[in-house]
Amino acid sequence: VKATTSMSTASGAGLCGRAKQGPGVASPSASNAVWRPLPPSPACRPACRDETPRRPWGRYPSVGRDAVRPTDARPARLACLGMTTGGLATVARSAVAPVRWNGTRRGQLGMLSVARRSIIAGCVLVALATCVAGCGLDHRLQVRVGLEQLTSISAEAALMADDLMRGRTTTTFIRVHGNELSAQAEHEAEKLNDDSIPRGLEGRVQVAIKLASDISGAIGDFVTAPQDRAGVRQDRAKLRGWSAQVNRLAESI
């Protein structure tokens, strides 16, 4: 009863205005005319009697709190949209169904709706962007990026070792984050090893692979025995040195 009351008092707000366009067809020129509602049910008609002139973007006459709230509008909407059973599935089916423009024979064009084309185009764009962004670095640049990664890992591990030595961190953090860095250093070594080496960089890449393994090993050492302060001090010094060395290599490319 409450729903019927709110429906009948609603002054055509929300989507009901669209039902005026009549069932089954829509003008392609109107901005929101692509909607093709099913014929409104008799129960819905009072709410759909929107006589307000509509501007291109649509003009909804209800102002402020008199506007129909989404939840209040629900029964009217459902009836107007023919969504009594299908919910969103109906909306989606309706949107992806072939458009029949005015003045054409039934089924003559069978073209995709704007929404479906936009969604497909968007998905294709996103997939392409993801693929293109994720690969395609030129080999020389790839080596340089790998070396920069190693510089970063080594320097960060040196910071962690420094905090560990001064008792300013937790063993749990050192173990978890140290393992991440160590695994990443190994991964960089594998990448450098597997990728084709650009001419003139063979020596530098070999040095980098050796350094990557050393960095990974040093991180593994202090992750395994964080209480060995003397060992951690040595690891810190080595990691700092390697970071500077790999950075020089990267800058030379």
């Binding site: 989507l15 709190r65 506007a67 989404p70 939840t71 919910g87 704007v114 970063s152 860095l181």
Partner: protein, 406 residues
């Protein structure tokens, strides 16, 4: 007292929404790569989110209509459907990144296997959302997320060169695609659409009326500016700690290391707890945003304030979102990588979200006396142009820089 409590909505939106995994990743990387020179991009992003969140909150307060209802009503079915599908995809990617981020932070705190932590993080979030009322969720994540304030203290602790910091607030252009990529990333992560979906729907959950228009204004300005200050602090800490050593932060652990360098174990624990609740809060916002969007678009009953049996499809939708995100993260995708994609793709969808809000908020017929002022209209249109530029540039920059790799 009630008003003070309601400010928690702003704090949740600021910490849990503004400072999410996108901020933690992009801002820290931006600081490490370009020191202070991207601080201005945070300011641009913060003003943008304040302007549009204020408009969406005002529309929600005056009319009782949240953003997606407005999108559906103003833009029609087809454009609305495109906006819905794109926002749902972005929401899902973002939610997966947030859940993965929460799992990583839990692992840094507890040292269990990441797969176990993903199960723990997802279960905890679902249980909290299911059993705790809306204002309780606000308080849990809003207040606990304040642990991130450690970055603000740390930024000052490192005694930065304030002259250089001030220079960072002046927009500067570099002839580097990577710089432009980070500009898009920093602004995009600040002005993420899901924040506005959540904020406006949250206003309706909190039963705002036209009397709350001023409260909404204070809420957006205070909340998002607080979030912006934290973003600036993240950039400053990164610029001080990581940039001189050529560290390129690619892990959430690296972000925590910044606080550890300043305050040792206390700094580390506060940073990790703050990150856990900020990322967790953002995950809740994302899941709700997805459920709000679908429900509002389809005309279903929605709202956390309703009993579950009164809004069953809304409840089911956010649960499905969590389940899908769980599946994505358990598949082994790197949450940090996922975050970068989420931010860039959400930048592409920005105009679709914000244009209808601007149209409604400037419509006197609809908003009555609470219509946009001249200044709001000018700033709104100016930002709409900025959003168009960001949207157009996002994908090409991602391709040119290979996702920020070079």
């Amino acid at each position: 007292m009630k008003k003070v409590l309601q400010l928690a909505l702003g704090i949740l939106a600021a910490i849990g929404g503004f400072v999410d995994i996108g901020e933690l990743v992009f801002n820290v990387q931006a600081g490490a790569s370009f020191r202070f020179s991207l601080l201005w991009a945070v300011v641009v992003g913060v003003i943008g989110i304040v302007v549009y969140a204020e408009m969406s909150g005002r529309v929600a307060a005056v009319s009782g209509r949240p953003v997606f209802d407005v999108v559906r009503m103003r833009m029609g079915l087809n454009v609305g459907l495109v906006t819905l599908v794109s926002s749902l995809l972005i929401n899902l990617i973002t939610l997966a990144a947030e859940v993965g981020g929460a799992a990583i932070v839990l692992q840094l705190l507890l040292n269990f296997k990441i797969a176990t932590m993903i199960v723990l993080a997802t279960s905890a979030l679902v249980l909290i959302v299911y059993f705790v009322p809306f204002d309780g969720i606000e308080r849990i994540f809003g207040y606990m997320g304040c642990g991130l304030l450690i970055y603000l203290v740390a930024a000052i602790h490192f005694k930065p060169d304030w002259h250089h910091v001030a220079q960072g607030f002046v927009p500067s252009w570099h002839s580097s695609a990577l710089y432009d990529y980070f500009v898009v990333g920093v602004i995009g992560s600040a002005i993420a659409p899901y924040e506005v979906y959540f904020y406006s729907s949250g206003g309706i959950e909190d039963r705002w009326t036209a009397k709350d228009v001023n409260f909404n204004r204070i809420n957006t300005v205070l909340g998002f500016v607080l979030g912006g200050v934290l973003s600036i602090a993240l950039i400053m800490v990164s610029a001080e700690v990581f940039a001189p050593l050529h560290i390129s932060p690619g892990y959430l652990g690296t972000t925590a290391l910044g606080a550890e360098r300043a305050y040792g174990q206390i700094g580390l624990l506060l940073a990790l707890l703050g990150m856990l609740f900020a990322v967790g809060g953002a995950a809740v916002e994302c899941a709700f945003s997805g459920a709000y969007s679908v429900s509002q678009f389809a005309g279903w009953e929605w709202g956390k304030y309703r009993r579950k049996r009164d809004a069953p499809r809304f409840t089911l939708t956010w649960m499905i979102f969590f389940a899908l995100a769980f599946g994505v993260v358990e598949s082994g995708v790197d949450p940090v990588q996922l975050t970068e994609y989420a931010v860039i793709f959400s930048a592409v969808a920005l105009p679709l979200t914000y244009f209808p809000i601007l149209l409604i908020a400037r419509d006197r017929t609809y908003m009555g006396e609470h219509v946009n002022s001249v200044m709001s209209n000018i700033v709104g249109w100016l930002y709409f142009v900025i959003l168009l530029l960001i949207s157009a540039a996002a994908i090409p920059l991602m391709i040119i820089t290979h996702g920020g790799a070079s």
